[in-house]
Amino acid sequence: MISRRLFVAAAAATTGAFLLGVSPNYASSGPDVSHFKLANGMEVVVIPDRRAPVVTHMVWYRVGSADEPAMKSGIAHFLEHLMFKGTEKNPAGRFSKVLATIGGQENAFTSSDYTGYFQRVSRDRLKMVMEFEADRMTGLKLTDEVVLPERNVVLEEQNSRVANSPSAKLGEEVMAALFLNHPYGRPVIGWRHEIEKLTRQDAIDFYNRWYTPNNAILIVAGDVTADEVKALAEETYGKVAPRAEIGARVRPQEPEQRSVRTVTFADPRVTQPSLQRSYVVPSAATAKPGESEALEVLAQILGSGTNSRFYSKLVIEKPLATSIGAWYQGSALDQTRFGIYGTPRSDVSLKDLEEAMDAVIAEVAETGVTNDELERAKVKLVADVVYAQDSQATMARWYGVALTTGLTVEHIKTWPDRVQNVTADQVREAAKTWLDKRRSVTGYLVKEPAKPQERRS
């Protein structure tokens, strides 16, 4: 269920707020982002955007599916659903009903490293949503009457996202095979047999362990000033006492990756075979300086757009594939993934396409990339930063993702600069070092062969 598309979003999330290079005069006029802490340890980020009288309000918790206890996969996401089920003070549905009445939007999301809740409202409603959100930071009240139907909702969500989709099922298998020790190998939504057993108490335990102001980040983007947000935050979240000690987030780490692995998933609904491969690589948080940025540029050159290496060589010049690409998820607290994928044309075998893709990677690793490729990739990555400033929700998400995956505000601000500094040598080096098949799992999605005749003895 962590689909390709969502990874793109997550990858973009490491990009920053300032622009250098493409439009230098704009670098100084980017949003004036403020970042501070309340006395109870809750962090606050304010991103001004005065174009419309609306605000995007988010609370992010530094906890995700990779922090779940054994046998409780899916509890982070299940709790996220249950956070809409009411508190002592505000019974089930009241918050949603108020938002539905004023025309506010709301939602929530869960990933391996973070869980977030957001509302989008007109600026005069900001204090109200902060009061509601602060209330459910500690006051959640759950009964089996609401927990059990919601567990069925989550099981249907699992059906929609994974069980009904052969390629999503393959994606889960690849993840599970890739991470030998790290809980990133578990699906964010959880394994079905474990979701089925999650209880009210599991949710409450997880909530009490992680949902506390000293583990939370408030992000407000929109038509507000830092001073306004600070005053409101002190009045609302500031009054929530910390209720758990949060130590360093240490999860089981990967041993050395040293074998080429493959996974084959067969399903009768597959009409065209395809392949996807993931490599374990450094994230922005774990990489040496410059390494993560080089991987970002490498993904762009190798597999983004019709002028990428993969597409121009294997779709246009030598038509072996109908779709093909590469991606890098820079944002992760621990080691992360670099991925490639392709669908062969109907007269081409998976093996032939895979060999051709390996040859393209080998070429980049040996002879590197051209200056033209390098420049085009940088223009694109840096322009994306400007385009992102058009959306306050996107800006808020970037900061949230960064701060929950081990990065800093400074990291975001300097990101375009660091991308500009990537050299062709660094890109070649990144391909050579990290796109080593022994660090990878390749997944094949194939049509299930016709059932063999029953044998009789």
Partner: protein
């Protein structure tokens, strides 16, 4: 990342085609200028200098409904091929120029329109407008990109033959609109796509990409005078008049029926639809409110509450209005466990009937009005969204002052209005398609 409630996304996508597009408080800061170029091309502009980019959206009336008879997929393929080489630039050269300036361009075909978008840094506007001019006026439709796109379309079409959502959707449209362009899928069929020729693409572009069926919306760091010059440069050489075949007005057929398709998937996919209310009908806004209460955008709708909250039958359940040019529709869907499909369909039928017979309560009406008015500025938060809204206002012919009038139109809706319109909208019955491990014998074949 997993989002909690996917219904919001579905709802919003569908609602974009109907009503949720205009700012109330935002109107104070969002001023629309009507720009007429020296050559007579009109665009609606919201000038926004605070972010250094320009977003443009445009629409040519006549989408898949103008595909040649028995050749569905032509408009889809044409839209996909427009940015794959133009003028002296082959596909690779064209894409490389766009990349070097970070110009983002896209085209897509829907049932009634060809839509396009252009996004660029304001410092690169000259290059952006020039590439768009080339794409619209001198598309090459070279063999290499055309064959590549054909292969991609066929791969996707094959995949759709085993997708419960696509099987259900195709069956719905085929059954509801026999012998009408709406019966055919926008992206073509396994039979039609192999037969599409370059001449088909050229003929389609020549007939549909014209000036009299064009609507343009622009947002960003550009003034009216500069935009006027650019409009002539980009669109001024297109034919004055589009050659559009009339499309017969129709009502969906087979309402009241339920079609089941057997498919071995863990989760059953349900789609439904019936007659809606045309966008320019005075009852459209009351109908929009009625739909909001039944299964619209917020998380407090009756379907959401009955199907998801109370019973945990589905992750997503929704309904929406889809006012097409030749048929106004009311649509919806959900996904649920095979053994609960019967119960879920029954609940949806029951909720539709209950709302048709008794109408909404006063409290529901007031909350719906408040939501629809209050959420209005939220759909104006990015340049690309505002540009899309500017085009939609023109396509729907609602007037440049609609943003200011909208609140009053909603305020004017009475409880009697919504009761009457609930009957009008919901009493006609809907056609259900149910795809999955159905409990009864299959009553329809899938495919095509």
């Amino acid at each position: 990342m997993i989002f909690q409630r996917v219904s919001a996304a579905f709802g919003a996508a569908a609602i974009g085609a109907s009503l949720l597009f205009a700012p109330v408080p935002a109107a104070a800061t969002t001023k629309i200028e009507r720009v007429i170029s020296p050559g007579g091309i009109e665009a609606w502009l919201v000038r926004e200098p605070s972010v250094p980019l320009i977003a443009m959206e445009f629409s040519f009336k006549g989408g898949a409904n103008q595909d040649p008879e028995n050749k569905p997929g032509v408009s889809y393929m044409m839209a996909a091929a427009l940015d794959e080489g133009a003028g002296d630039l082959d596909s690779k050269a064209f894409q490389a120029r766009a990349e070097r300036s970070a110009v983002e361009m896209s085209f897509r075909a829907s049932r009634d329109e060809i839509r396009g978008t252009l996004k660029m840094l304001s410092s690169k506007q000259g290059e952006g407008f020039e590439l768009l001019r080339l794409a619209l006026n001198q598309p090459r439709f070279d063999q290499e990109p055309v064959e590549r796109i054909r292969a991609q379309m066929l791969t996707a079409l094959k995949r759709e033959t085993t997708s419960p959502n696509e099987i259900g959707s195709r069956l719905w449209w085929r059954t509801a609109f026999p012998n009408h362009p709406y019966s055919l899928p926008t992206n073509g069929t396994l039979d039609s796509v192999p037969t599409i020729t370059r001449d088909d693409l050229t003929a389609y572009a020549g007939a549909v990409l014209a000036r009299d069926n064009l609507k343009v919306g622009v947002v960003g760091d550009i003034d009216a005078k500069t935009l006027g010059t650019m409009l002539d440069q980009v669109f001024g050489s297109l034919p004055a008049k589009a050659q559009l075949r009339p499309v017969k007005q129709v009502q969906p057929e087979a309402v009241g029926r339920r079609l089941e398709v057997q498919l071995d998937v863990p989760q059953t996919v349900v789609a439904f639809g019936g007659s809606g209310i045309p966008r320019k009908d005075p009852d459209f806004i009351p109908a929009f409110i009625v739909n909001h209460i039944l299964g619209g955008g917020s998380f407090s709708s009756r379907l959401y509450s009955e199907v998801r909250e109370k019973r945990g039958l589905a992750y997503s359940v929704y309904s929406y209005l889809l006012p097409l040019d030749a048929a106004a529709l009311f649509m919806g869907g959900t996904q649920t466990r095979a053994d609960k499909a019967e119960e879920t369909v029954g609940l949806i039928e029951q909720e539709i009937k209950r709302l048709a017979e008794n109408g909404p309560t006063l409290d529901e009406l007031e909350r719906a009005k408040s939501y629809i008015q209050g959420s209005y500025p939220l759909s104006f938060d990015t340049s690309t969204k505002i540009a899309a809204q500017l085009v939609q206002l023109q396509v729907d012919d609602l007037g440049i002052d609609y943003w200011e009038r909208r609140n009053a139109l909603i305020d004017a809706v009475t409880l009697d209005d919504v009761k009457r319109v609930a009957r009008r909208l919901l009493n006609g019955g809907v056609l259900f398609t149910v795809v999955g491990r159905t409990q009864q014998a299959s009553t329809a074949k899938h495919g095509g």
